[in-house]
Symmetry: D3
Subunit: 253 residues, 6 copies
Amino acid sequence: MSVHMDQLSWVDYERRIGEGAVVFLPCGATEQHGPHLPLGTDALLASAISAEVAARVGGLVAPALSYGYKSQPKCGGGQHFCGTTSLDGATLSALVRDAVREFHRHGVRRLVLVLGHYENQWFVAEGIQLALRDLGPNAGLEVMRLEHWDFCREQTLTDVFPDGFPGFALEHAAVIETSLMLHFHPQLVALEKIPDDAPADFPPYDMYPTRTEWVPPSGVLSSAKGSSAAKGQRLAEDIVDGIAAAVCKEFAL
Amino acid sequence: MSVHMDQLSWVDYERRIGEGAVVFLPCGATEQHGPHLPLGTDALLASAISAEVAARVGGLVAPALSYGYKSQPKCGGGQHFCGTTSLDGATLSALVRDAVREFHRHGVRRLVLVLGHYENQWFVAEGIQLALRDLGPNAGLEVMRLEHWDFCREQTLTDVFPDGFPGFALEHAAVIETSLMLHFHPQLVALEKIPDDAPADFPPYDMYPTRTEWVPPSGVLSSAKGSSAAKGQRLAEDIVDGIAAAVCKEFAL
Amino acid sequence: MSVHMDQLSWVDYERRIGEGAVVFLPCGATEQHGPHLPLGTDALLASAISAEVAARVGGLVAPALSYGYKSQPKCGGGQHFCGTTSLDGATLSALVRDAVREFHRHGVRRLVLVLGHYENQWFVAEGIQLALRDLGPNAGLEVMRLEHWDFCREQTLTDVFPDGFPGFALEHAAVIETSLMLHFHPQLVALEKIPDDAPADFPPYDMYPTRTEWVPPSGVLSSAKGSSAAKGQRLAEDIVDGIAAAVCKEFAL
Amino acid sequence: MSVHMDQLSWVDYERRIGEGAVVFLPCGATEQHGPHLPLGTDALLASAISAEVAARVGGLVAPALSYGYKSQPKCGGGQHFCGTTSLDGATLSALVRDAVREFHRHGVRRLVLVLGHYENQWFVAEGIQLALRDLGPNAGLEVMRLEHWDFCREQTLTDVFPDGFPGFALEHAAVIETSLMLHFHPQLVALEKIPDDAPADFPPYDMYPTRTEWVPPSGVLSSAKGSSAAKGQRLAEDIVDGIAAAVCKEFAL
Amino acid sequence: MSVHMDQLSWVDYERRIGEGAVVFLPCGATEQHGPHLPLGTDALLASAISAEVAARVGGLVAPALSYGYKSQPKCGGGQHFCGTTSLDGATLSALVRDAVREFHRHGVRRLVLVLGHYENQWFVAEGIQLALRDLGPNAGLEVMRLEHWDFCREQTLTDVFPDGFPGFALEHAAVIETSLMLHFHPQLVALEKIPDDAPADFPPYDMYPTRTEWVPPSGVLSSAKGSSAAKGQRLAEDIVDGIAAAVCKEFAL
Amino acid sequence: MSVHMDQLSWVDYERRIGEGAVVFLPCGATEQHGPHLPLGTDALLASAISAEVAARVGGLVAPALSYGYKSQPKCGGGQHFCGTTSLDGATLSALVRDAVREFHRHGVRRLVLVLGHYENQWFVAEGIQLALRDLGPNAGLEVMRLEHWDFCREQTLTDVFPDGFPGFALEHAAVIETSLMLHFHPQLVALEKIPDDAPADFPPYDMYPTRTEWVPPSGVLSSAKGSSAAKGQRLAEDIVDGIAAAVCKEFAL
């Protein structure tokens, strides 16, 4: 039986929830990821990872939020790119608030929001907090919120980046996301189009309107050269293992 | 090349938009569709239809809105079903408003919102109207909004319903949706689980809180018996032909 | 004693509510209704019908909501007409939400929202649902929502439209509304100004911005020729009888 | 021809607006006014006064806003009275914002908001300001906002209150409103029910939740004894004359 | 130990709240106050007064709200002045709503909102009411709301204004505020810059957009001539005594 | 002349803005900072730093936003601490949006938001972006947004943390903030109350409701031992130098 909620009938879903299934809600974006990765990268990765974890822990994956918060220059290139399709913060928070309330109504008691888009985190957190406030102190619902890349092990990062890990900040459309896509969705990666730009170098402040000249025209913040499916597999293992372990620990599965 | 926006790089997407591609935004729901159809039926159908039309007219399909407005007893069974996962009206309108504004920023000038969930229509319409007000009178963006089943031809309905067409109102999880799913996603249909309930019989008014006893416990408003992939194919042809023709006419393609 | 809440002192109103009076809230609009009917038609009819039903069942009529949701081309002509004065969806939902909450505070336990404007229905429904969510599961308030024309009997429609009923969709400022106005407010009808346009013929989709050329310049979607006070009286009887019966049944009066 | 917008066809309304008619929007409330005055007093008076001024200056009266901002103990008795039916501040501001924007779309260039409910003033002012911000600096729309009782002349107040004018603060359901109602709607006044309470005596601060014991149980803040239709006529003359003069001066009629 | 909440550690604050300390929240503005008073006058005075009262009654002063509702011509000069920095009504209400909810979470049971800006009052009142609605009927929180100048004694006003008190309406940047600033913050007053304009003379209605010619170009609505630190001290004594007495009475300290 | 906007008259402020003064808006919080630092730490530091930079570059400091976004366990301890007084995300964004719009109206063309509270960043960024969208593409306003600690130089951190820098994540109420407070506001620091807890150790995900047992009961996320005024001075020099240099560079002063 599918782990994908949208492929189940309500009767099957109800039964699974009654049995205590953890629900995973992937929170992605529609955002430029350079010339070599597709616009849907964030939702595709969050969904693929959610599905693997769900299979591991007997959970279900709700339909992904395919649109996310506004892309910022330093972590996603910024809102001046064509194709990047973003929501106002209040819209994203409302979406999460409504969804959390509905899962609660279904009887879900363990919910995991799997973020694949860095910019989502605060507005998703706000949505969760608002829903829990609405539901009151005895709701009996526990929510985990995570960004999947935070589960990469130190050693893996050392191995994946033999010249040193540049930090998650610049890892937009770079080695981690490209390798994960080569692992999960190889047919959607155009390796030959990886640009050869130097990594972006941002000052310790932001300017509005966006100083577009700060951002590489390709939208890639540090090079994706050196990405591979093998690296993707290893990163995916870290991430899936890590999230599964966290879910089992926190939800006492 | 894919018609799916989320599978394209921003560079490819930008080129296609620059060439005048029409963008289709499927607006679905996560909603009970009886014991024989999956919760994602509305988004799955709206997406499949959008993809076929897009392929026909050289357009692109944006990621579907997978959550829709609250299910109402008379057209979707109501909010008391487990699995039905709905948004407040203001959330859905905001989602559409943000998306329309973003497509406009991309340079999209022809946008089609393909609704697969009846309850969405007014809040989607409001979102479009709010976005166009934001964009001002010279935005140069034209938006078409439609429910796909309205493109079924009279003769087709006569043939599909030899005992008489009960009307779209009761066609929730019934012959049209089931047949379309058998055509597009047969592996997600459990024909053997189609309930044998009599059609629902609603009075000409609504009651809040929902009178749940008005709604068949299965969530199916009229029987899906008699559904077939062949009927689905014929309905799909009507719908795809009809939308494609409408798009070509209104956008002078 | 008056059925009109705004003509009662709070002391009398409180007594009536304490006795279990049903409250009727007419939800109208300020919207073009062709050259022969006044802008206030929707609120005037909803109020007149509410008053007759209230008199029948010992209820009270709250002041009408005189402004409604945005007029749509296919059911009200659209927002390009001078005089049509509409609210954003969120405003109308908030208005209803606030009002329902207040009636609940008064001790009202049976509330009927009588809609005279087709475009109101979803935003009014949302307002009711939001208020009931605010009030919690033990509010003890039941709300009926209806459009008055849905209570016209089949036979009456057959008789009123000897050449066939064109459907409620095109019945804006046409025979039903004109006849009802001739019955309730004859001095506000200018029969000699009824235009002689052919009925509007809309495609199965909407376009934004409004294709104003789809809409007859008069604002009348199908001809009002053949309207009469006698037809209005018969329609009014159907409607008042039907609503009164529904109220008695659902509220166990 | 009627001064009431809701009694005019859109064609007649459009012609009148094209000729430069001033539009008056009465902003009332549904609020307790003691045992002797009806709940609709504020809207009824604002509408009646608007109609007289409109007749004088060739203007039109839009349908009244029948619900207003929350009643406060010191000026309207407070929200604990049955029958008082109030809006959140944001709802009232949104209502006014939407209405002002619509009148602007009609071509109205001179708009007067006539307030009959003290508590409305700031939320109505906010609604006007928000609408004008939306419309931009070249909207060409001028809006006057007023409370009708501020046009009572000094000498009139001296004569109407031989024992001294207690101030507008306590004039809720008292001599001014009662006399005006006796002038405009005598059949809705129950003189024999005027309570004989001493005037309310409020401290220079507010307490929330409402200290209901501060408010006379009748809801009348100072006695309505001494009210008469003659006084009402004289007050009405002041008010109508004053508003008409203000409108002519400010709008250069 | 400081009366200022922002100077206490959370441990000390918690202890004080546990002991029943009243919390004072000054609600000011950033608004023109003529050429002789600083932009922060309203927050500075509300804070200074709050601190004196808090010291008197063993209370604490929360950080002031430094931005307030939009300045209106008749009481603050209007929004056309440079330096006046105002919030939308909904923003101010939300700010107060959030703050009241948080103080309640801390265990605060006695809260006083001390307004130093006339235009704040309705939006602050709305924020309090919304918070109390959120908190439900058993919150156990009582909130006092006041404008400090309302505690000036009759006799004091007679003495301070030997030529007659012009009323609080015109007392913007005039004798009361200037004298209070001379008492509390003499170094921030530029007595030599007090303009010599005649008092403003406003009609009994408002016009939008602002008729800026109604407002003295200095922003001072009536002359501040005659202000003195001695008058300020006497006014401050009235105000501090009066608020302290009110607090003790209403909160049974 | 003061750098503090609230101490200037509008006339002086207008002159300074006309001369091109940069405006700094400190964005703080009211949040627990352990037993040794005051609740106002974030606003106090952001204000003090803003004042020094403003003095350096001829700018002005607007009144601080004293309340910020909800404290999160990993960076501020969480919302379960008494004294932490936070805003909903939408409230903070609205506050910033309104303020930015107002500064634009004043003629400000260079605005710097100086954040002293980590949790503020996304909601402040959203507020800026919303305001700039409101103002349109030709507003001529440039906004810098920064967290002050990001300007600490590498070498300084090495020297300040001889045992290794634990990262900004755990630097809540720890060495950096304590040292900066010892430099700017020594009288508000209770060195003897610094707790001796081990640093917090958080997993790579968040749980809602807050797992309060993850957070040291003192609210200090890593030890403040080793803080000193000398370290604070050095950090302050880095920060003030860095921001001043950034401002001069980006605004071409």
